[in-house]
């Protein structure tokens, strides 16, 4: 405890007497964590965008015109028992015809003069997003096709599969880039802290010579590394917040039109960033001081 308190005091005076290298390290950490944070921001918003696209119906089940109500109940049971179905909307023949009439393109106008309603009633089904959604939809469609009262099944296989692939592609890329980015920035932060400790070898040596315990030598450096990590990440959060605010105020309108909101990084990730940064500061200092002490002792 005594060591911690005086270690704390020593840390402060160390920082004050090596202002410039301390500030350079903090600046580097700030930048590195900002980059990570902006990437997270991108990740969250792309994710939001992708999942807003997910809101659309993926399967339409067309019904026989003479479907019985027990057959209908049977179908609805099947829908509600399936874990992956998110929602179903029932569309009656009349609604379908009305919708068709209002949406029909000019060149199909002649159809409007038909005296009968050629359109069937239907269920529009939306599925939860999951990795194997497409194959699940295929299987589920096969089951539905065999049910009585079902005329036909329509699902935009091509569009769904393209979309799913895009999702997979994006996820691979986001995770790969995100992983490499985190790893890279962590390495950068620890390199920076090590460089800043390198310039203090003499100090470490002197402390040991005038009777400091190895722990007393390490603690101020560890604390300093953690303070650098903390300061850097907190500054970074302000920067990320600023960028978010700017983008939001500038582009919210065009984003609105896409039916989504500009999201900020989720709270656990914010604290995760700070924690990560402090941890990296600690580890880098620990490894560097450990290395010095080891080298000094070998000498």
């Amino acid at each position: 405890m005594q060591t911690l308190i005086s270690g704390y005091r020593t840390t402060l005076s160390n920082i004050l007497s090596n202002k410039q290298t301390f500030l350079l390290s903090v600046a580097t950490i700030t930048i590195a964590i900002s980059i990570l944070g902006l990437f997270l921001l991108l990740f969250f918003n792309l994710n939001g965008l992708l999942s807003s696209w997910n809101r659309e119906e993926q399967v339409i089940v067309y019904l026989d015109d003479d479907i019985s109500s027990s057959q209908k109940e049977n179908l609805e049971d099947i829908f509600s028992n399936n874990q992956q179905v998110e929602s179903t909307i029932e569309v009656s023949r009349e609604t379908a015809w009305a919708e068709f009439q209002s949406n029909v393109s000019d060149n199909l106008k002649p159809l409007l003069s038909l005296e009968f309603n050629p359109l069937p009633a239907s269920y529009k089904i939306r599925f939860r997003s999951s990795d194997n959604r497409l194959s699940h939809i295929r299987e589920f469609s096969k089951i539905l096709e065999t049910q009585q009262g079902v005329e036909s099944i329509e699902y935009g296989e091509e569009w769904i599969s393209r979309f799913e692939k895009f999702m997979v592609f994006s996820k691979i890329f986001l995770f790969a880039i995100g992983g490499l980015l985190s790893l890279g920035l962590i390495l950068i932060i620890s390199n920076t802290i090590r460089l800043s400790i390198y310039s203090r070898q003499d100090e470490i040596e002197l402390m040991l010579l005038i009777g400091a315990t190895p722990r007393f030598v390490k603690i101020p450096f560890l604390l300093e590394g953690m303070i650098q990590g903390l300061a850097g990440s907190v500054l970074a959060l302000f920067i990320i917040g600023g960028v978010h605010y700017y983008l939001k105020s500038k582009f919210q309108s065009s984003i609105d039109a896409m039916g989504m909101d500009f999201q900020f990084i989720a709270e656990p990730f914010l604290f995760g960033l700070i924690g990560l940064s402090v941890l990296v500061g600690f580890m880098a200092s620990y490894i560097s001081t450990f290395q010095f002490l080891y080298l000094l002792n070998k000498k």
Partner: protein
């Protein structure tokens, strides 16, 4: 207090820097260590301080077997000693006052005592007016006196002074010598490495004369 038996030290595996040295210095003694450049004076002081290893032999300091100390517990030895480094080893980013008080912080003294003793030590070497200056802004002799103040400030049982008056004019050098003698009177054992005949004459203590790693006279 300090016993050195048949110590051999080689840096590069060929020429021994210390060649089968034996010494005995009793508690409360004041000895001069002298000899030409490269004779091994600094090396022997470093060995007593647990700062250099040695090939063969035994070193006992205050009953501690120095050869057996590891880096984890060598600080126990060093806390009972003050070392005036030949190259001062002042921290350039700390002021004079901080450099001296740092030596006490490191061994965990409390803040009030530190201020008082630092002040005292700076007064002894005549540097109170410079207490807030950084080492780079001091003359060579002033820097040397900070190094002396730092070694004395904890009133250690043993003081190893490596050429502590090399950059001082004769008057101040004699004053510093007197300071060491006062500490010696109060019980500190002192080993004072020096080239200066004048200092050795003024001191009139036992002289250990090294040459090429051997004790020539003692």
């Amino acid at each position: 207090m300090i016993q050195v038996f048949n110590v051999v030290k080689m840096y590069d595996g060929s020429n021994p820097v210390l060649d089968n040295i034996s010494l005995e210095i009793s508690k409360g003694e004041f000895v001069f260590l002298t000899g030409p450049s490269g004779a091994g004076k600094t090396t022997i002081l470093k060995i007593l301080f647990g700062w250099e290893s040695f090939e063969t032999g035994q070193v006992l300091v205050q009953g501690i077997n120095v050869g057996k100390l590891t880096h984890r517990n060598v600080y126990t030895l060093r806390r009972s000693m003050g070392f005036v480094f030949q190259d001062y080893k002042l921290l350039p980013n700390k002021t004079v006052f901080e450099n001296v008080s740092f030596a006490q912080e490191v061994i965990g003294h409390d803040q009030k005592k530190i201020r008082f003793k630092t002040w005292e030590a700076l007064k002894n070497v005549g540097l109170t007016p410079k207490k807030d200056a950084y080492p780079a802004y001091l003359s060579g002799g002033e820097q040397q006196r900070i190094a002396i103040a730092r070694a004395m400030v904890n009133s250690p049982a043993i003081i190893l002074a490596d050429e502590p008056t090399g950059n001082l004019d004769p008057d101040i050098a004699i004053e510093i010598l007197k300071l060491f003698e006062e500490l010696n009177q109060k019980g500190s054992t002192i080993i004072f490495a020096t080239h200066s005949q004048e200092i050795m004459k003024a001191g009139n203590h036992r002289v250990i004369n090294l040459n090429r790693g051997k004790v020539v006279s003692s």
